[in-house]
């Protein structure tokens, strides 16, 4: 079983729709959960960061962590064409952990 599983997509949705992106993981010791966004021909950049279980909201973005199910989600409300990118989930054991485990990324297309 891979450590982090993420559907590669592509996922195409119409502008204005709610987007749901998900990852599952196998290591119950992960405590820090991140979502990175990567535009075409650019490096990934951190979008959302959560610690342990629960929800975190930032504008149109909501990150959700369910540690009991080993499942994390990123929701995008009122999706815009500028949200078209690859979204990578990532996680680590603790702050001293030098290595972050990344999912393979989901390609998202928002259709105008």
């Amino acid at each position: 079983q891979k450590e982090v599983e993420q559907d590669p997509g592509p996922l195409s949705v119409p502008e204005g729709a709610i987007v749901s992106l998900n990852c599952t993981y196998s290591n119950s010791a992960f405590q820090y959960f991140m979502w990175y966004r990567q535009y075409s021909r650019k490096g990934p950049e951190l979008l959302m960061y959560t610690y342990s279980s629960g929800n975190k909201e930032d504008g149109r973005f909501t990150a959700q962590v369910d540690k009991s199910s080993k499942y994390i989600s990123l929701f995008i409300r009122d999706s815009q064409p500028s949200d078209s990118a690859t979204y990578l989930c990532a996680m680590s054991l603790d702050l001293r952990d030098d290595k972050i485990i990344f999912g393979k990324g989901t390609r998202l297309h928002i259709l105008p």
């Binding site: 991140m34 021909r41 490096g43 990934p44 702050l95 990324g105």
Partner: protein
């Protein structure tokens, strides 16, 4: 503003050539990383460095070496490039002791080995 730069955006090399990929960060970060990113395989860690002259192998170090002579610069070396090393190479850095371990990425170098 946080910045990680990579020496080339696109590079074309021939099989057997020695290839140097350079990464520089201006944030005084201790940790630096080299990844390669391939379709269907995601980001894979090649090497990382937690201090000057210190290095650790990542998940796929074979065929690569690294050098970190100065804190701000981390170089990836392909001793004898092969076609299976054609990939997007991404450099990243993190600050030790930050409130969360965000990795800051460079723009990437797309390397083609012919």
């Amino acid at each position: 503003d946080v910045k990680v730069t990579q020496s080339s955006r696109y590079l074309v090399k021939r099989t057997g050539e020695k290839v140097f990929l350079e990464c520089v960060q201006d944030m005084d970060h201790e940790n630096m990383f080299w990844y390669r990113q391939d379709p269907g395989l995601g980001l894979r860690l090649i090497y990382f460095s937690y201090d000057v002259k210190m290095k650790e192998k990542g998940d796929i170090p074979e065929g690569y070496s690294v050098s970190r002579e100065k804190k701000e610069r981390f170089s990836l070396i392909l001793e004898s490039a092969s076609t299976n090393q054609t990939s997007m190479y991404l450099c990243a850095s993190t600050l030790v002791g930050a409130s969360y371990n965000e990795q800051f990425f460079g723009p990437g170098t797309r390397l083609t080995v012919l």
